[in-house]
Symmetry: C2
Subunit: 243 residues, 2 copies
């Protein structure tokens, strides 16, 4: 059940990644692409809009669409992707160790929640190990209101695979906040953090496509192993256009 513009977008993205459309060259014009794929222009434009957003191309009015040359290096740590998905696309030698799996309310202070409003949840604590080095400690709170039970095997494998695949949940969007803080003794030990060194904490709240809040997460990263890449387009600030 894929739309035409989705398939076209994937096809062009593949051709860019395989250098069939080389970096710094122009894509065929929109009307040429219409003929190529046998679709109308607005459909082509939807595909190109996706490629633009993802940093594959840059459009220049009156000239054409240029292939940019870095989207394959700077893999998107922004966006919502699971650890397992990242691993597979980066073929790293990694594994996950389940530390804890129990019922617990979401801690109100950490996520700045109303103290009177409790969220019963399943708490999962997992250590991510790459090349025998502990890199990330993931602390997930899955709300009981959405996820009633969580099998141990699912927690050990991929949470998202279970949630999307087995439970059929449709994950929509998330808010994230990145800060740098001193680790707790527990975290310091698990991650082998040197004394007096801070850790990077990514806190997020994840929602389903129907806007139901269902997950709180704290990802504690060793600072020396942390890296976050992003591609951003300039947004004109409201009212600053004098044209």
């Amino acid at each position: 059940m894929k739309s035409k513009y989705d398939l076209i977008q994937q096809d062009i993205a593949n051709k860019i990644m395989h250098h069939i459309y080389p970096a710094n060259s122009f894509l065929p014009s929109e009307s040429q692409l219409c003929d190529l794929y046998g679709v109308s222009r607005e459909t082509i434009r939807k595909a190109l809009a996706l490629l633009l957003e993802q940093g594959y191309i840059q459009k220049i009015q009156g000239k054409g669409s240029i292939v940019l040359d870095f989207s394959r290096f700077t893999f998107p740590v922004s966006g919502i992707a699971s650890f397992k998905e990242l691993n597979q696309s980066e073929h790293m030698n990694s594994r996950t160790k389940l530390i804890k799996l129990e019922d617990m309310n979401v801690p109100t202070e950490v996520f700045q929640l109303d103290k009177d409003n409790l969220f019963p949840a399943t708490y999962v604590e997992r250590l991510r190990i790459v090349d025998s080095e502990p890199i990330v400690l993931d602390r997930d709170y899955l709300l009981k209101s959405v996820v009633t039970t969580l099998p141990k095997v699912a927690a050990e494998d991929s949470l998202y695979e279970y949630l999307e695949g087995k439970l059929g949940l449709d994950i929509g969007y998330a808010t994230k906040m990145i800060t740098v803080e001193p680790p707790t003794p527990h975290q310091q030990e698990l991650l082998h953090v040197p004394d007096n060194k801070d850790v990077v904490i990514v806190r997020s709240q994840t929602y389903l496509s129907d806007t139901t809040l269902f997950q709180f997460t704290e990802s504690i990263h060793r600072a020396d192993k942390f890296s976050f890449s992003d591609f951003a387009r300039r947004k004109k600030v409201k009212g600053s256009n004098r044209k």
Copy 2:
């Protein structure tokens, strides 16, 4: 020179921010919005697509578009916005101190550049001070090939205001990478970083809309003052759809 869907997007965003469309309520349906603004449905859909991308709304097929309630808290540190723009929208008591302004090649090691390919540039070093506390040290390299001269006043005020306003440059997009590293003695002193504490470094390369590379930047943040917020939508990983 604004398009209809741009104006409609701004109008709806305003109504959301002023709670005329309250959080967790539905927007008028697309056909109602067509009548309201007197435009065709695809035009309305383009406006709604922008609101969706920016986290103002969530669309649910068969039901409607729900107003989300956090887009006004989590102001976008992602995206490309200048320090001055951020300040104005957050009304902070802040100022900028110009530390250095001189000609220099972009340092090849720091930005992982080819050693034989030199980029002559204007180097600007500025300290950002909020409530008399040094928060960020910005190190900008503006390529001579694009920006031939940089007046001292422009460096002291807003770089982007000068580049976009005075020079008429059209800034397109940027790549960013966030890491955590030990500060240099110079940085430690300027930012009042305690001994053995790391700093957060945001390195970026900025391009014009015509894909010309024109700026390298290092932003050195005091770790205890650093915070990065983001809104992200779930991207299905290629090939993982079994529907």
